[in-house]
Symmetry: C2
């Protein structure tokens, strides 16, 4: 079965975020006030083939820890959503 | 009132995504198979002060169009969630 995955990689609280700080500093000059606490992270979406949802979730967890994030400075949030298509023998 | 905002900026379908392609090519060599359609975007979170939710949503829409994304090649999805804290006169 194929599952849709969304991974959000964000800097941990306390880690300096220069990109977010630059956005926050620029917005008032463009006429947008009242914006604070800007944090910029990465959003990674993909599809993964797995036998069931829990296998998919543990694979994604492992991919995130080993490859997509730096656990020292980054947090990861993972959403595995319903199967995108059946690939276990059914034709439709 | 203060609202929490999450903005996801992703490349439009059909726009080449070299970062996603590199991840997809690297994963099998690391022992992770079955991953496809990798797309990398940005996730931007911030707080915004506004009188009500619809004002907040229209401000965020405008910030995204003018500043955070390039509408020619990028799509934006916006989530404005419940107020983070009261700032309209109540003390708590």
């Amino acid at each position: 079965m194929t599952f849709d995955v969304q991974v959000e990689v964000s800097l941990r609280p306390g880690i300096s975020d220069p990109e977010g700080a630059t956005i926050e500093r620029a917005l008032p000059a463009l006429g947008f006030d009242g914006v604070s606490d800007v944090r910029v992270g990465k959003s990674i979406r993909f599809s993964i083939d797995a036998d069931d949802r829990s296998t998919a979730e543990s694979s994604v967890q492992s991919i995130c820890e080993k490859f997509l994030s730096n656990p020292v400075i980054e947090d990861v949030s993972i959403v595995v959503s319903g199967q995108a298509e059946a690939s276990d023998g059914s034709d439709s």
